[in-house]
């Protein structure tokens, strides 16, 4: 594969690739936010909710974590239309990946919540905060801070996993690459280019998050080894 060929490829199809990248970003960001919001809700419900809500949340989390994301994606894209809920590929992918991520993010938050000692809860109540205030002002901020490394990791994971949206024809990076490949028969060249893109973003994001984590870290607030 000569350099000329590669440059040619980028020249003629660069805008396709850029669009694919933007869709991948959009997909990742939206499903991550859905996953975070639901993840917070689920982790709180599992810690403080009434019994049946706890059970419901646990069932959702275990079922989601116990099955491939691909199945969840296909269920939402191919089965929901049967109950008159036909979604376009992109929203279907956002919802499927978002729900999947919610299960994982709720687990990360649950782990960090359980590492916060009961005395923080007692102290919050002792100054007169209500339970809801104690969760919002004391427990949740600490849990999120502690979970930042794993939550950041999840975002990078999602960026890579967002590629499964390819299977339901969302025009993300891999989908447009396949399209370009089918036009030019330069499959390997295109795939190599986007491999570089994925790797570059993953590594850059990892470094960026490490930096942010260092900058925003609070002394004494991290997952204690719990020994």
């Amino acid at each position: 594969m000569s350099l000329d060929k590669l440059l040619d490829l980028v020249n003629s199809y660069g805008s396709f690739l850029l669009n694919g990248l933007l869709i991948s970003f959009y997909l990742t960001a939206s499903s991550y936010l859905i996953g975070f919001a639901l993840g917070v809700l689920i982790s709180i419900s599992r810690a403080y909710g009434p019994g049946f809500v706890k059970a419901l949340c646990q069932a959702f989390v275990e079922l989601t974590r116990g099955t491939p994301m691909l199945i969840q994606l296909f269920l939402i894209y191919y089965v929901l239309p049967r109950v008159d809920l036909a979604l376009d590929p992109l929203p279907a992918a956002i919802i499927a990946i978002g729900l999947n991520s919610a299960a994982y993010q709720s687990e990360y938050l649950r782990a960090s919540m359980s590492s916060i000692s009961y005395s923080q809860w007692e102290a919050a109540l002792s100054i007169g905060l209500t339970k809801l205030q104690a969760i919002r002002e004391v427990i949740l901020p600490q849990s999120i801070r502690i979970a930042i490394p794993t939550l950041a990791n999840e975002l990078i994971y999602l960026f890579k996993y967002s590629s499964v949206a390819y299977f339901i024809t969302v025009p993300e990076l891999i989908y447009v690459s396949k399209f370009i490949g089918s036009r030019t028969f330069l499959y390997i060249e295109v795939y190599s280019i986007i491999a570089v893109i994925y790797v570059a973003f993953s590594i850059a994001a990892t470094e960026a998050f490490k930096f942010i984590e260092r900058k925003t870290s609070i002394p004494g607030l991290r997952i204690s080894a719990r020994l």
Binding site: L70, L75, V79, I203
Partner: protein, 218 residues
Amino acid sequence: MNGFLTYVPVILMGVWNTLILSTAGFLLATLLGLLMAFIEVFSPKPISITVDWVTRVLRGVPLLLALLLVFYGLPRVGIALPNIASAIIGITIVDSGYQAQLFRGAIEGVGERQLEAAYSIGLSKWAAFRYIIAPQAFRAALPGWLNEFTIVLKDSSIAYAIGVTELFTQAVHVAQVVLDYLQPLILVSIVYFSICYPLSIISERARRKLLAMGVAAV
């Protein structure tokens, strides 16, 4: 039942390929991951850093893309392999990056003090590794290692992209014949779940047990 039941055996035949695919890919990734972890921990800095970057690159590639690269790439250099072999190679490559990270964390997690104590009673470098570091690192890595297998098992469904006739592929093919996705997908979900869920419980138990023993799992 629109004929779905007659197709159940067809779908379940995919279980074997799923198991072969994920087990082979996973175990090969373990070998490769261990090798890279050892190099990262025990070799001189330039080599260690190079290998560290290799693992970072491997972790940066989506499995789907790795499969496509292997599947379309090998024939280009004159190697023709069955789909399932390409899938195993793809899984091995990507997962070895993650496992290297896991094992490295486990070895480094044992810590300087244990090593100091080992040297203090006169153990050689090798003996210290063999009798002090390795047993602890092995335990610390165990829960994460089991968990990693469930990830590989679930992700092996992505081999659908290159036409490997594993569980998920079979389900989709049957779905297209019986014109119903729900039943085939539920069926394969049950299969995946009945393997992953027990494993995740075992992993969690091991994690807790190790914690009680004073070993923080990676």
